[in-house]
Symmetry: D2
Subunit: 280 residues, 4 copies
């Protein structure tokens, strides 16, 4: 790790020099950072119990280990659908319990940490909040895993130092999530930076997740980018699945159908094996 | 304003179509958005009463109307100087009062809004929090002006919609601040986007500020970029000044000395007049 | 000038350390790099004698010193209008002579250097060819001024080193032209980087031009960006003007009408004077 | 393929709508675009016969099918090593013949097309010349395969339309090469855009190559990115190998040693098989 990542009196907590073995931790019975590539799937936003149940049932059948679903949605416009809030969290928690799947949801306001911690097994910090340092500090005092998405145009150094805010507070259960960086390419929503995955695995002991759905914004690219992410060394994938993408309240264009998800999982399996890993 | 900025049932509150006349408001006796180009100056961070007083005295003498100074600093690393907190705010308020200058300081955590509102005349949202929607909503309920800095790689649409979160909450005293966008150019810290100033003045009725110090990160570029900002239509400038930049606890490379600030002000004067405006 | 611009055995020829006084040279009776801010105007492409004459007549009346017009057009698609070629050059040269205006046109192929040199007073290298080193070397052996546009995403160092290829060949009549860098902002075609103008004036003795038309791609932004360019220190401006922009064969959206150009010139005049310069 | 890629009177020649089956062609006995993922290896620049022979012998033994080596080098500075020119081409051709490996080298000047065509089996257009339309047109009249590298910040549409210039001239043996796009990340030289590989395979019938060496600029990232490229659908890889990278005249930091290359090949093999392909 280059000097710019060293603090004055020693190495950063996120650094592989500080800790050479890769961080692993369990979420319910799912091991993050181990041999298995963990696949998290679900709708962008929790919309209704029925849709969520159907999605959860189908993605679990296809091999997903955890369930995702946004209850508080960071939307560019104040007039867009903002998520179901606490009601959405409750639905997510209930469906997760029924299906025996740990659940992950986004934290947007530090005042909601208690609420999120009550219902979700993993809290996700979105790209727009990667340098919301007040939020990061508070998550450092939490005893729950945190997914830290890379900011829209954050450098790798900034991303690792944002994670350091959480570790410095005492919470070392951090998963770094690459979700694409902003570029001038209009065809894809963002540009997925898979070299960041390989680099961060080298620089840090923290597990790394890839979100090919938000990264590309294009349904047909999700599966090839999921394959490439595993080949680059990702420990986990987070994929948007919606039974009727064309009716989704947000991000329909990038959501797989349950059938598409199932096809993707079959395509991922041999790639994971080629890397000496497995999907479940 | 293009369709992408229209909401379903009418125009956005930030739009010039919704409100054709430019927004103006007073901060103590300083009029924002009027004929005068308002110049705000001061150190990046409040460090000590003595340094702050010296800076304030000298920038006021050179023509600055308001005083800036960070008490809560958004730092990439958790181990960098984080600001003096409430103590810094108190110093800033006291010096501002002594010098008869309104003061501006950054809000980083929604929990500190009350504290900031007690001491500062204008609250500043930094680039990293431009899409901290929870914070923006709460600032919408405040009766104080807010400076909204453009995010590192935010589009103009995203920036205006972030302002819309504040206006939609009932607070229409918003100043948009261009501070450079992230680019691949290594020589400057960011790339100052002055076309955004002219464009936003066309699309919106809100006043626009430019921060040439953070935008360039290079002392010698501050004055030429301040001139260009006025020529592009900026209503206000925010400039970092430190009596001993080489000893500043943050951002010394881009800080002007009081003498440099004074020179800059003399260079700005004729440009402002050429645009039919004045510096004070 | 930082070390990265130094060559092993001394300073670069483009450097202000190598040559402290600003480079000036005459094109017919127009002095480039002097007190006057030179304004070059004309259509994106030469389309017909009639349109070119009308444009030249009107822009000269409004104060333009030189005439621009593309005969070989670098078009993204092979099926777009590619320019009139030699016929266009002849028209340009004839109209320039009639109006007593030096003319500038783009060189795309090193095989055409002789042809261009026969008709044009200044040869322009487009952004796409900024690192066409074979072309740059040949232009180094020419005894005519060359405008070197900055590449789409070229760093300032790369731009100056591209100019060095020409100077190293013996041709020191080089004008650097900032025309916007590629960014993720969809509202403007490119992001005009005016800090590059101030920085390059500091690093190099070469004159600097700004092209606000290509930089913004938006007609209403041309005049404010031209003002800001002068305020930032530009020595010349190149502006697209077309009598009927909506019918232009290329780049109509960014072309000013002759009347719009005339208005712009009146707005530029006081800004130039505020900087101690004049338009003519 | 979206409308922006359609020409007025039909589909583009590069489009999968125009031609649904993937383009395949042979270079000597190597089939490009078929089941095999073609691996091209060799030094950045041809430096000496001895080094080239050693490299060729070792990369062939490890499974490389073709040999690369620059004779004309596009260097940012005119004072950097520019390549051995024709002498380098002759060496490359001779070693290629001895080893029974087709050779690939970069064309920088349209005047050298004949020379390149005499010695090289495939001509490569570098990123800086992707929109050197004069060069592309001339390559359209050649009866040799052309590798077209994506420009530093070229959009996918611009890249495909640059290829269209070659196809429109009659040469349909074009290989598209992704080599990273410019970004603000300082840790890697460029940001490898693997979503572009999957997208271009969907939009076009042309074979796609990935250059993980130039894309990352970091030796340790070459192998993971090569794996990810195959997983994303690449038909070919081009990798820099140098027996003594620390002594290389250019790009040593990103060159693999022959031993490192051999390790990479062993790591790629199972990934290729997982995708139903093979390395040789």
């Amino acid at each position: 790790m280059k000097n710019l990542l060293a603090k004055k009196d020693g190495e950063l907590l996120v650094s592989r020099i500080y800790q050479s073995e890769s961080t692993q931790f369990e979420v319910k019975s799912c091991l993050i950072g181990g041999e298995q590539v963990m696949v998290i799937a679900g709708p962008c936003a929790v919309e209704s119990e029925e849709l969520l149940k159907e999605t959860a049932f189908k993605v679990r059948a296809a091999g997903a280990a955890m369930l995702r679903g946004g209850a508080f949605k960071p939307r560019t416009s104040p007039y867009s659908f903002q998520g179901l809030g606490e009601k959405g969290l409750k639905l997510l928690a209930r469906v997760g319990e029924d299906m025996n799947m740990p659940v992950i949801s986004e934290i947007m306001d530090s005042e909601d940490i208690g609420l999120l911690a009550d219902y979700a097994d993993i809290l996700q910090v979105g790209a727009r909040n990667m340098q919301n340092f007040a939020l990061l500090r508070k998550l450092g005092q939490l005893n729950k895993p945190v997914v830290l998405k890379r900011g829209m145009s954050a450098s790798i150094e900034e991303w690792l130092l944002a994670a350091e805010y959480i570790l410095a507070g005492g919470n070392s259960q951090v998963i770094l999530c690459e979700r694409g960086v902003r570029s001038s390419e209009p065809w894809t929503r963002n540009t997925l930076d898979l070299s960041a995955v390989a680099l961060v695995k080298e620089l840090s002991h923290l597990p790394v997740m890839v979100d090919p759905s938000h990264a590309t914004g294009v349904r047909s690219l999700v599966s090839p980018m999921a394959r490439a992410a595993i080949a680059a060394g990702a420990d986990a994938l987070m994929v948007e699945v919606h039974p009727q993408p064309e009716k989704a309240l947000s991000d329909g264009d990038q959501s797989l159908t349950p059938r598409g998800f199932s096809t993707m999982m079959r395509e991922l399996e041999p790639v994971a094996r080629a890397l000496g890993r497995r999907l479940r």
